[in-house]
Structures are given as structure tokens and as C-alpha cells.
């Protein structure tokens, strides 16, 4: 007897003995990489209700406000900007007052030097402040100390520039 005969005999064993192994071999394999993909899909599925709720919330809000959903996103964005601007403006209104010494007086604008300790001095030691749009302006001379109220915006040129001036008062 040789190994060929044994091998051939094994090839002729009954199907009942082969069948369990045939089934084992047919079982699908799920290697580690596939498990990662399955886990990722599960995460995605689990996060779906939250995403759906958020989307529905946006949609409901848009229905309440009467905006179309497409427009609503930009409106929400704009609104957010507005709010930011409003709140920023509130902060700026409180903070956008400074005192400065007049260096030059031109038509519709003055060149000033913010006094020591003023935050605007950190931006520039010389600032052009335009007041052409103001209804009333005092008569300003070189050397005056002014209290300037503005919109908080300073153009970072040199000298710096303030165009959104709300009011100017002469302190000294």
C-alpha cells in the first residue's frame, strides 16, 4: 500500500462525512478589516437619528418662520451674523470711546493722538478721525483734548483712520 492508495480512498469517503466540512468551508469570512467597515456603518446608522432630528428641527423652525428650507440656512447664518454684529456692537459702543489730543485739523477730519492708556493708542499713535457726516461738530483746534465716540472700526493704515464717528466732544 502506498500514499496514493490512501489518498484515493480518502477521496471516496461518504458524502455524509464530507458534508459538515463542506458547510464549514462555505461559511462566510469576516476578517478584521471587514469588521472595521461594519463598525463604521453601525456608527453611521446610530448617528442617523440625531442627524435626522437636527434636520427636522431646522425644517420645523423654517416652517415656523415661514422661510423656505434652502433660504433658511442662509437666513440662519445671516441671523447669526446679525446677532454677532449686534452683540459686538454693544460691546464696541461701550468700548469705542477714547480721548485724544488734536494734532491737525483739516476739512471734515482731524488728526489726533490717543492719550496714554487708551486702547486705540495700541493700534496707532496717530489717527485720522473724520466727522463730515456729523450733524453738529464743535469748533476744534490743535491741542484740544477730544472725547471721540465711534463705531469701533479702525482702518489700520498709518495714520490709522476712523470713519464711523458718532460724536466728538471737546474735553479740554
Amino acid at each position: 500500500m502506498n500514499e496514493h492508495q490512501i489518498h484515493d480512498a480518502i477521496g471516496d469517503i461518504s458524502e455524509e462525512l464530507i458534508d459538515p466540512v463542506a458547510r464549514l468551508r462555505q461559511k462566510k469570512r469576516y476578517p478584521a478589516a471587514n469588521w472595521v467597515a461594519v463598525a463604521a456603518c453601525l456608527c453611521l446608522l446610530l448617528s442617523l437619528p440625531f442627524t435626522w432630528n437636527t434636520f427636522n428641527g431646522t425644517k420645523a423652525e423654517s416652517m415656523n418662520t415661514g422661510f423656505a428650507p434652502e433660504a433658511n440656512m442662509s437666513d440662519r447664518f445671516d441671523g447669526m451674523l446679525d446677532k454677532t454684529e449686534d452683540s459686538a456692537a454693544e460691546v464696541i459702543v461701550e468700548a469705542s470711546v477714547f480721548r485724544a489730543k488734536v494734532l491737525e485739523v483739516d476739512e471734515g477730519c482731524v488728526l489726533v493722538e490717543p492719550l496714554e492708556g487708551e486702547q486705540e493708542r495700541l493700534c496707532s499713535d496717530k489717527i485720522y478721525v473724520s466727522f463730515g457726516k456729523l450733524a453738529q461738530t464743535p469748533e476744534i483746534r490743535v491741542g484740544d483734548i477730544l472725547q471721540i465716540q465711534y463705531d469701533g472700526m479702525i482702518q489700520e493704515t498709518y495714520p490709522a483712520q476712523i470713519t464711523g464717528t458718532y460724536a466728538i466732544q471737546i474735553i479740554e
Binding site: 500500500m1 492508495q5 490512501i6 489518498h7 484515493d8 480512498a9 480518502i10 477521496g11 471516496d12 469517503i13 461518504s14 458524502e15 455524509e16 462525512l17 464530507i18 458534508d19 459538515p20 466540512v21 463542506a22 458547510r23 464549514l24 468551508r25 462555505q26 461559511k27 469570512r29
Partner: protein
């Protein structure tokens, strides 16, 4: 389609049987053949021959497990194909022919007794396999019937590779002792 329905199609001599067999077991059988032949073209030929053999065998045969039956056919056909290929590689048909002719002179050549012994050997091996625990039996059949690598056998039997190797080693020793007891060795 269920295996039994496919077998029924064979019995009705409906050619759809082959189509469904190909659909359900084509890749499976190709893998069985590839493990033996290691050549895609031969592998495809072997699988096609399997369909033909199945068509010729059913009826009268009605397999209990179509998958196991087809695996047996593919295995046999692939091994025959491999042997022919190897004999062709060894220098052509004449040498092999002469060997075959001389083989007839040897005791236990191609006589009916040998085929009886062959059938008995199959029964002995079946009996041996039934003495083994299920897991060991599956590992043994996976390795020596399907000729899967030890790594693959270990994977689908849920074992480590080294554990499968140990199981196979012990099973071979046990088979050797069993064959000695039965008077084959």
C-alpha cells in the same frame, strides 16, 4: 435554489441544473480544483468536467449532499488531470505507457481484487474517521480530502494553526495504527 431542487432538475434531465450548479457552486468547486491543480485554465476545465460528470451520474445517483458530491467529483477529476499532466512532464507518454504495461505484471496490479481492496480501504478509512472526535475529523477531511492548507483548515475549524498541526499529526499516527490493526500495513 435549494440543493434538492437542483438534484430534481438533474433527474428531469433539465439543462438548467448545470446553470444553477454553476451559479451556486462554481466558485466553490473552482477553489477545490485550484488547490490541486494550481492553474486557472486547468481549474476551469476540471470544473466543467465536474458538471458533465454530475450530469452523467444523476440519475441514477441521488446525492444526500450535492456540495459534498460535487466536491468529490471535482477532487477526483482534478487529481486525474494532475497525474496526466505530471506524466506528460516526465517525458511523454511512452515511458508512462511502458510503466503501466510493466505494472500489469506486478502482483496486485489492475486486478479485480485490488478494486475490492480499494473499496474495503475506503470503508476502513470511513470507520477510522468515525472513531475520531468531530473536530479532529473535520480537520482531517479538510486537509486530506479538500487539500486545504493547514492555515485555512485551522481558520474554518476555529483553531490556531499550531493546534491544527498537532491534531493532524496525532490523527496520522492514529490512522497508521488503525491500518496496522486492520492488516493493511
Amino acid at each position: 435554489m435549494e440543493d434538492q431542487q437542483i438534484v430534481d432538475l438533474y433527474w428531469q434531465r433539465d439543462q438548467l441544473a448545470i446553470e444553477h450548479t454553476q451559479k451556486k457552486y462554481g466558485r466553490y468547486l473552482a477553489k477545490v480544483a485550484y488547490h490541486i491543480l494550481c492553474d486557472l485554465e486547468d481549474c476551469a476545465e476540471s470544473v466543467n468536467d465536474t458538471y458533465m460528470a454530475a450530469w452523467n451520474a444523476m440519475p441514477p445517483h441521488r446525492p444526500q449532499s450535492l456540495c459534498a458530491f460535487l466536491s468529490k467529483l471535482t477532487r477526483r477529476i482534478s487529481i486525474d488531470m494532475l497525474r496526466k499532466k505530471q506524466s506528460a512532464k516526465r517525458g511523454g507518454g511512452e515511458y508512462e505507457l511502458s510503466l503501466e504495461e510493466l505494472n500489469q505484471c506486478l502482483p496486485g496490479g489492475h486486478d479485480p481484487e485490488e478494486s475490492v481492496t480499494g473499496r474495503e480501504l475506503v470503508k476502513t478509512i470511513e470507520a477510522f474517521l468515525l472513531t475520531l472526535p468531530e473536530k479532529t475529523r473535520n480537520v482531517f477531511i479538510g486537509r486530506y480530502f479538500y487539500m486545504d492548507s493547514v492555515k485555512e483548515v485551522a481558520r474554518y475549524c476555529g483553531l490556531s494553526e499550531s493546534n491544527a498541526k498537532v491534531i493532524l499529526h496525532r490523527a496520522r499516527i492514529a490512522l497508521s495504527e488503525y491500518l496496522k490493526e486492520e492488516g493493511y500495513l
